[in-house]
Amino acid sequence: MTRTAAPAPTGTDDPALDVEGLCVDLSTPLGTVRAVDGVSFSVRRGRTLALLGESGCGKSMTALSVVGLLDPAARVTGGAVRVRGSDTLRLSPAERRKLAGPVLSIVFQDALTALNPVQPVGRQIGEAFRIHRGLSRREAREKAIELMTRVGIPEPRERARSYPHQFSGGMRQRLLIAMAVALDPDVLIADEPTTALDVTVQAQIMRLLRDIQNERDMALVLITHDLAVVAQRADDVVIMYAGTVVEKGPVRDVFSAPRHPYTQGLLDSVPEHAVRGRPLPAVPGSPPELSAVPPGCAFQDRCPLVRERCVRERPVLRPAGEGRTTACHFAEELTHA
């Protein structure tokens, strides 16, 4: 954990980002479904928090609602997202735009679609300076080149005039990171930043993110489905399932002694621990559709510990050890297992 921790949080212990009870509804032709249901977490500067979950668990939608980029079909129906003391969900779009960049920033998974294909990358990176700091075109360009140097793009002065398709996947991801950190945000959200990349390039990008985070003392929210990435890069982890948080806590503790059967199941499914020739301990079934999340515990159909109580009553997050919470009625049984 000390690897990624900042050189002592500066001054205050206030979280840089505090999400509380976030609810997002998604309207579908069959009615409204709840895609994110009461998600809470907070992260301090210099720390890395991972939102971990499988596709459809609501982790990306959580991130998008935090930065205010939700699809029109989705709507935030409750909760608060606090940065620098104000709740961004209560702000007007104009006030919100002022926060995007200097306070909150996001790196997307798909760098090719996140960049404008018909603008030179230098101008795209410099744009933030022109909008937020009112720099001239020339000054913005210099800043952009500086940033491109920082994220490791060779020959930045020449490359600033190139278009996104002229860069490789890893380089495009570097460009996106440069854009995201241009204004020194307090909080950087990275939505599956390395999923589309090759393993060796993935390692480079994760290293770059970590270095920049340490340099600028940012809070990093890492959204991913990759347990190994979480294990290596995050301090704290929030595990989501079917729109809800099922477990939360420091990565090392959670991964070494999970307090939720879903976390346990995920960890067991990693082939890394498996012995060849012996079946992997898989979680049976697949996650419920959002329109058919059962009442009671969302994980009940796939859970080895399921009882009658799980069908009746939805478990709420409750403390489970130092700095940890779990949403399972029978978490204690896992600790003995």
């Binding site: 082939p271 890394e272 992997l280 979680v283 697949s286 996650p287």
Partner: protein, 359 residues
Amino acid sequence: MPDIRAASAASEASAASAASAATAEAAARPLLEVSGVTKSFGSGRRRLTALDGVDIRLGRGETLGLVGESGCGKSTLARVLLGLERPDAGTVRFDGTDPFALRGKELLAWRRRVQMVFQDPFASLNARMSAAELIGEPWRTHRDVVPTPKAREKRVRELLALVGLRDSDAHRYPGEFSGGQRQRIGIARALALDPDLIVCDEPVSALDLSVQAQVLNVLSELRERLGVAYVFISHDLSVVRYIADRVTVMYLGKVIEHGDTEEVFDRPQHPYTSALMSAAPVLDASRTTADREIQLQGEIPSPFDIPSGCRFRTRCPHAENLCTTEPPPLATRGTTAASGTHTALCHFPLGVAGESAGM
């Protein structure tokens, strides 16, 4: 997977009879032997060399893991193995015969023996066909495999059970299944013709972790029950380590390392293999620390413009002048006959000059 075990014994019986019918000589020769296969696309300066003298061997019922990053040619190799692409040079021998020399009925008969499971369970299934139609699709061409509609219906149910789906799933459409379930349909379809070899092109990389484990279990159960051999293509090292008997590592169209899974993973000879393994994040934080990581510089060179000498030299931490001028020789580590050979394409293989080189 109780439903798999509950499946009818018909497929087992057919596999067993096929095995007993095979002569001892046939059993001794490898199922698949690929040597010196070269394939390029385009021409002139826009010539992309996808495969450059690739050799692989695979025995009956074995699993070969094919590892590499994008552009290494592993997907092209898969297409060659399936007869979808004809190699420019080199030979492919499947059970002693060259599939590219076959015509008509013989070609059709060969096609039965090699099948494929695709990476994308969304795109590889025609959305307008029901699960039963999809699984039975090969029989529309190979009419003699399961001749009557009644038998087909029965066989579809067996195959569904074999991959862990239910009878009632037969008449649902791909859109109604989750990714993992679709991949099971894809596997059932590949099994419909009782193949000897299934080429799996990243079969689990589009799936969620908890579902990925289910599909891997289905694949390894089938190997045990039906004796089918796999060429298992993946970029995920932990998956390959789990499922493969032997591993072939590819880089820019060449096989750069080959050997038994344990050998390659525990004592990699090629610097690329070693870097690949250290770059892959692992769950156990104590196993790989940031200091141990070998960080490769830059990205894979364009396959349109392959470096001279050793193609890995542009990123290799141990590269010397020799690597620029001379293509590397095949280095073989002396291993016992039982475990086969462990080869690497490198001037300075790791673990020979000293173990510290790998760190």
